[in-house]
């Protein structure tokens, strides 16, 4: 039962395919390898050639060979560019090759479906509001192709308008579904993007953090939700965002312990949870907050002291960190509760104690001696650590972002020779001292501080806030945080990082266009805050929308949430949406409308009668025209001329058979004349027929 409908692709469709191809492929520019781009470009040029009738469709064999070749090449390079990237490239190539090979409407439909999938792939790493609007436009264009198959309009713009209308009508229901549809945790492991990782590294040699300190990129944002409704968090001095705990030191580099690395590897398969502290104590402070992490392509997450998260896909590691089972390849938001007063590891197992007191043998002898000195002078552990901290304050230590290269005995060289360094130097030295004096100690890296945005009430943490500090285990108190850097440059901790380096500004030299530079101009800073707030709300309410937000939203809308209420809300919304679409599709009519042509004609007649002409609506149009001529020819020749044209068109539209094109054209003219006449009649006070009488 086929006519040639299925085998002929109309020119309109071909045109939209050209547009769609560009629209769908360009956002993937970053992921495509050079030769994927080249093949896509060749396919596009070929299609343009086909469109203008310059070249024939390529032979099937060539396309097949190209496809096989491309697949094999991609298979070979997939280890270099990462599995997901290889798959994306494969999809792009398939899209491009299918695109020149299209012969039937069926092929076009396949191309459109793949197009939607490529748009979804693009959404994986392009998630800002602008990106979303842009990609919605791409969806509209992609839908245009389908519409151009079924809508026989000669103008492509008509297809575009209809497509836009269709998508616009679908958005309300999509939003409703977005709110009520259940969100599940990840169902299985999927390949992730292999991109340059940003942020902290799980290895720390002393040169590493210098680069980070200079980057003004956003690392993550935090919104606090206090029971009293305020959005402020703890004081700046307590904003230590723990990210990594490093327990192994080989004399040059700090690393995570193997036991933790193993746990991290198994995170997907074992749901590791820590025991949440019971908050019976009234004084125990709890912070509830949501972290929106920028893509770091790492799995570690940020949290304040003793962080817990019940979110799906997040595990709680025994070193009091939270950890994502998937790399953060896209903006990800998660909820955290922190118990700053609870004790981390009240009892230390022998194994962990052993790990945290281990030091590379026969290194840094001077530091060893210093440690023994501290041990003798301060037998009480807490006093000993305080004394070590004071040592950094009392001696001539300097904070610098450009330290000298250290010799083989790193800690010795730093403590007794160069005496200048940044956080990692000081933290390493303190851990070394503590361990050498017999106290379990470890290195913690993360971020310190946060810039508060009062508009939307959240903290922004930038990459330059990366920091390293120390945790020492003290009997009865568990792991205690000590930040030796604070002893050197205390302003940094007290006032935030920006204050310390305001004069220096070297930390921003890598990003000359950073919006942070706008801080000098108050109104620009205001604008920056506004835009940042909008982005924050987008991240929280759209990108980070989850079951909990759903409950919050429903609670706001319905008060107390129960299933009956939700069911009623759904029902009402669906009916409203249905009526809305049906109305705009032209299915509903609230009252039988008069034919607009008639209505306009009679309204003009009405106006004439207001201006003193006889009110005789039953007169045939031509007779009425004569009447008007009689009365107004002498006084208002312009008006009569307009009305003559108007009447002629009215008669033509009502009584003459017209082709649809003529009809449309005449209707346009008619409407224009109607407006002119209305205006003219509005300006005229009275059609004086006394004049004409005198002439008669």
């Amino acid at each position: 039962m086929q006519d040639n409908f299925d085998s002929i692709i109309s020119r309109n469709t071909l045109f939209w395919l050209l547009v769609t191809n560009v629209a769908v492929l360009t956002p993937q520019f970053e992921h495509a390898t050079a030769w994927t781009l080249a093949i896509c470009a060749i396919c596009f040029v070929w299609r343009v050639g086909i469109y203008f009738g310059k070249v024939a469709a390529p032979p099937k064999l060539l396309v097949t060979l190209l496809a096989i070749g491309a697949a094999i090449t991609l298979g070979l390079v997939s280890s270099q560019i990462g599995l997901l990237n290889a798959l994306i490239n494969l999809l792009l190539l398939g899209y491009a090759l299918k695109y020149i090979e299209m012969r039937q409407i069926r092929d076009v439909k396949a191309v459109v479906l793949v197009g939607y999938f490529i748009i979804a792939l693009t959404l994986l790493d392009q998630q800002t509001i602008i990106n979303t609007l842009h990609l919605t436009l791409v969806v509209v264009i992609n839908t245009c192709v389908l519409i151009s198959i079924y809508q026989d309009k000669r103008k492509p713009m008509a297809n575009a308008l209809f497509s836009f209308k269709l998508i616009l009508h679908s958005i309300p229901l999509a939003i409703l579904l977005f709110v009520v549809f259940p969100r599940l945790g990840p169902l299985w492991l999927v390949p992730s993007m292999k991109t340059a990782k940003t942020g902290l590294s799980n290895e720390l040699s002393f040169g590493d953090i210098t680069n980070l300190t200079r980057s003004a990129e956003l690392a993550f944002r935090v919104g606090f939700e206090n029971p009293d409704g305020s959005t402020t968090g703890p004081a700046n001095t307590d904003l230590y965002w723990r990210t990594l705990v490093m327990e192994n030191y080989d004399g040059t580099t700090w690393r995570q312990d193997d036991s933790i690395i193993n746990l991290q590897r198994q995170a997907f398969f074992q749901n590791i949870q820590r025991k949440m502290p019971t908050t019976t104590d009234e004084t125990a402070k709890v912070y509830q907050y949501t972290v929106i992490s920028e893509p770091s392509h790492q799995k570690w997450l940020y949290g304040l002291d003793e962080a817990f998260s019940q979110d799906k896909g997040i595990v709680e590691l025994p070193d009091y960190r939270i950890f994502s089972i998937r790399p953060v390849d896209q903006r990800q938001s998660y909820r955290v509760s922190s118990f700053p007063n609870s004790i981390m590891d009240a009892h230390l197992s022998d194994e962990i104690r052993q790990i945290n007191t281990r030091l590379p043998a026969e290194t840094n002898p001077q530091t060893w001696q210093l440690a023994q000195q501290f041990k003798r002078n301060y037998p009480e552990p807490k006093a000993r650590v305080s004394a070590m901290m004071n040592h950094f304050a009392e001696q001539q230590y300097f904070y610098t972002l450009t330290p000298q290269i250290l010799g083989e005995q790193q800690i010795d060289d730093f403590l007794f020779n160069t005496q200048a360094g940044f956080c990692a130097h000081y933290a390493s030295a303190l851990v070394f001292l503590a361990r050498a004096s017999g106290l379990p100690a470890r290195m913690v890296t993360g971020y310190q501080g946060g810039e508060y945005n009062p508009k939307a009430g959240y903290y922004s943490v930038y990459q330059y806030m990366a920091h390293a500090w120390t945790e020492v285990w003290i009997e009865g108190e568990g792991w205690q945080r000590f930040d030796p850097t604070a002893m050197i440059a205390p302003e940094r901790i007290l006032d935030g990082f920006d204050a310390t380096f305001d004069s220096q500004t070297s930390y921003l030299q890598d990003s000359p266009f950073s919006t942070l530079r706008l801080k000098q101009y108050p109104w620009l800073n205001e604008l920056r805050n506004q835009i940042a707030s909008l982005d924050y709300y987008w991240s929280v309410w759209v990108l980070g929308f989850d079951e909990e937000h759903k409950q919050q939203l429903l609670q706001k809308l319905l008060g107390e949430v129960n299933t009956t209420k939700i069911a009623i809300m759904m029902l009402v919304s669906i009916i409203v949406i249905l009526l809305f679409i049906a109305y705009f599709a032209g299915l509903l009519q609230f009252r039988p409308k008069q034919d607009p042509i008639n209505r306009k004609y009679h309204s003009i007649l009405q106006r004439f009668s207001q201006k003193g002409l006889p009110n005789n609506q039953q007169l045939p149009p031509v007779s009425y025209l004569q009447l008007v001529e009689q009365h107004a020819q002498s006084s208002q020749p312009g008006l009569v001329k307009l009305f003559t044209q108007f009447t002629t068109l009215y008669v033509m539209l009502k009584y003459q058979p017209l082709t649809s094109q003529e009809r449309v054209d005449n209707l346009k003219k008619y409407n224009r004349l109607y407006q002119k006449l209305t205006l003219k009649l509005f300006t005229i006070k009275q059609i004086s027929d006394s004049n004409s009488h005198s002439f008669l």
Partner: protein, 375 residues
């Protein structure tokens, strides 16, 4: 089409140009009894009418294969979004789901309000493609001035479809019926469908305009086999051919300068209708009859076919003739009305002998039976 197996093989042997329309395997799975019940239900719900306007009562909407592929994509995107914990991808999948829903309304709208009228069709001859013209009128009472309907397909059961890319306020569709057989053809319901707007749904309905058409026998060129004997005594006129003359008034035509003023229709002239000339014909020649018994041919169908051709030929030549079938006699006359009367008689001719003798005839009756079933 509900045909016996035996007949279909026979018919394909007989008519090579017949287009056998294949049903999809899915349709084949439905048991015939269910089809019959469905057909009867539809017949009650959408009874035959001269003018049919589509409304919610008769519009059915189901997803197409592409619609199912669309749903598969929605599920795929939802899983993809879930696994990558990406709300925007989930949002895209839900948007596509919502578009799916919107399309239901638009596909309904594309058919709703469409009015169908049958237009008088041309002569139908057996074995030739016959088209039933149907007038489609768009939704005139619509608030939006877009009264067009897109991609409307129409077909009789088991026949090829015709597609109207876009209907204007009024369009004529010629619905095809391939290879009809001699006799009364009742093609049954027209299936009307459209995949607008995205091809996700097929919206369809059945329009029963109570169509029927006498299909004339397939004309086969032959010698003119006229019989000049007087078949019946009561026939006083025994002329064979007409030429312009004075005896028989046949009608009016416009006056040509130089013609006799005697023939001018003065009455009409007085009524301000202009100068018209009365036309008269004069019969001439020998009386002729076409007779089934005297027609040569292998079987009955061939004989009838030859008769059919001769009737047309003689009418073209303005010959006066009569028609003698075994059980029916049409008196001598000429003109188009006479031609149609004769053709109808030939078309509806049923032999009086036993049915088994003539397989074609049996086939014919069964086909019509089938068409009746389909109604």
């Amino acid at each position: 089409m509900f045909k016996g197996k035996q007949n279909s093989t026979e018919s394909s042997a007989l008519n090579n140009d017949f287009v056998q329309v294949k049903n999809s395997w899915l349709v084949k799975l439905i048991p015939p009894s269910a089809k019959k019940r469905w057909s009867r239900w539809i017949g009650r719900r959408l009874p035959p009418q001269a003018k049919v306007t589509l409304s919610h009562k008769g519009i059915f909407i189901l997803p197409t294969a592409f619609g199912i592929a669309w749903i598969a994509l929605i599920i795929l995107l939802y899983l993809f979004g879930t696994n990558y914990q990406n709300n925007l991808v989930i949002g895209l999948s839900l948007l596509l789901a919502s578009v799916f829903h919107t399309c239901i309304i638009y596909s309904y709208k594309n058919l709703a309000g469409l009015t169908f009228n049958a237009v008088k069709p041309a002569d139908a001859y057996a074995g030739k493609l016959h088209t039933f013209p149907v007038m489609l009128t768009g939704h005139t009472k619509q608030k939006h001035h877009d009264t067009t309907h897109q991609q409307i397909c129409m077909q009789f059961a088991g026949q090829r479809h015709v597609r109207l890319a876009q209907t204007e306020e009024q369009s004529i569709a010629t619905v095809q019926y391939h290879n009809p057989r001699r006799g009364l053809l009742t093609p049954g319901r027209i299936k009307v469908w459209s995949n607008f707007p995205l091809g996700l749904f097929k919206a369809w309905s059945y329009v029963d305009l109570n169509l029927h058409q006498v299909v004339f026998a397939k004309p086969i060129e032959s010698d003119i086999q006229l019989v000049s004997e007087n078949y019946s005594e009561q026939n006083e006129i025994s002329h064979g051919k007409v030429r312009p003359g004075v005896d028989e008034y046949t009608g009016l035509r416009s006056y040509v300068t130089g013609e006799s003023l005697k023939q001018v229709a003065w009455k009409q002239w007085a009524q301000d209708k202009g100068m018209l000339t009365k036309e008269f014909n004069e019969p001439e020649g020998t009386p002729v009859w076409l007779s089934l018994a005297q027609t040569s041919g292998v079987d009955l169908e061939e004989k009838l076919s030859k008769l059919s051709w001769q009737v047309n030929y003689l009418t073209n030549k303005k010959q006066i003739f009569g028609l003698i079938l075994t059980d029916k006699v049409i008196s001598q006359n000429t003109g188009d009305a006479h031609r149609i009367e004769c053709q109808k008689a030939i078309a509806l001719f049923k032999p009086q002998f036993s049915m088994t003798q003539d397989s074609n005839r049996q086939q014919q009756s069964e086909q019509n039976q089938g068409a009746n079933d389909a109604r």
